[in-house]
Symmetry: C2
Subunit: 229 residues, 2 copies
């Protein structure tokens, strides 16, 4: 372990390592080499060793990595033991889907409450989480420390709500609206999910694959003609 710079890509890979290691642990596996892990992840063995090497020496030469140790270490690196406090803004379809299905505690977060503007759901409890009025957001933030806001409001409200969050000490915004949010450098940290980007990426790759398949077919047809001549 040394002070070499940790790349953004390394950080982005850590949650993936954790996910697969948890699956392996659930299946009863205790130990794994970087080679075996690389086959599951599609990431090269030196890449895995280098990534982990930024944070310490977690493996054992000649054996590999002990899964419980490495899971604990990655959780620690990701800050999962801090019990970050989260609130959820906007309990429409997406917000409700997260409220009801997403297991925040499994990732070391605790979801304090939700906020919405609709008077019909304000005051109700969804999956054990109370829905408060959006009007009370600022006063709530003044009285409670919130680390992360899960932003699920309509796109038209996204910027305004993000500003309130940033001005009131929220550390991070998990932006699940269908727009991007930009904040000044050094202010709140934003993860812009923007789901549709992944769908468009798929569309591009399907187009390219069809094109490549077509090219290969033509090449094969040409070869066959040449042989028969």
């Amino acid at each position: 372990m040394n002070k070499r710079k940790i790349s953004e890509n390394t950080i982005r890979r850590l949650p993936r390592y954790l996910h697969h290691l948890s699956e392996l642990a659930a299946s009863g596996k205790k130990c794994i080499s970087s080679l075996e892990l690389s086959q599951i992840l599609g990431i090269s063995p030196p890449q895995i060793r280098y990534d982990l090497g930024h944070f310490g020496e977690f493996g054992r030469k000649g054996y590999g990595y002990y899964i419980p140790t490495i899971r604990k270490e990655i959780s620690r690196i990701l800050g999962m033991r801090y019990g970050y406090k989260a609130i959820l803004l906007g309990c429409g379809n997406i917000g409700r889907a997260l409220l009801c299905n997403f297991d925040f505690s499994n990732y070391g977060f605790s979801l304090l409450c939700g906020f919405d503007t609709n008077p019909e759901i304000v005051g109700t409890v969804l999956n054990g989480v109370e829905i408060k009025s959006m009007d009370d957001l600022e006063s709530y933030l003044a009285e409670n420390h919130v680390d992360i806001a899960v932003l699920c409001v309509p796109r038209t409200a996204a910027r305004a709500v993000a500003d309130i969050l940033a001005e009131n000490g929220v550390e991070g915004i998990w932006n699940l609206t269908d727009t991007y949010i930009a904040v000044p450098q050094g202010s709140v940290i934003v993860e812009n999910v923007h789901l549709s980007d992944g769908l468009l990426w798929l569309g591009y790759n399907i187009k390219e694959k069809a094109y490549e398949d077509e090219k290969r077919k033509l090449r094969l047809a040409r070869q066959r003609t040449e042989v028969s001549e």
Copy 2:
């Protein structure tokens, strides 16, 4: 424009370009330089020019890019004009959220129907989309060409459903379940969204920022002591 290799990063940036250009178009802007666009996107001007340069010469020297042209070009590159056919698997909370809120047609996709196992919702219509029985999935795929499957089933069913999709000619899987799916090289293309990865990334960055802030505070305190001595 030439045959230089197009990087994965370039493709991943295209949907973002498109999103911001659409917002600019909606605000009535007609023309933009790579410099101005870079300030909106946080991507360097040469990066933008280089990215676009892979696909053609869309700008005008001395002026910049005409927004309608560049939007059309990026849509074309992403394959948005092919009207890809999509189906949605699993109409639980997340699936329903996408059915009701996600504007597939806005991204050039058409959502044909949904599938679920719950007999109470099979046969119903949600936001104009018919929900069919999961039992009929294979026969549906045999009779209809489907480009993309939006996978929202429970994680326990994810792999089994993905296999059926891959074996029956679906080109791409937009995997919104909370697990990763691996398929053989050259088979169906998978986009593993795995939402929680982004949340963990936020957690890491909050931890690091707190640590950096702490270090800076200590440094300042030390400097002040030295000055007063």
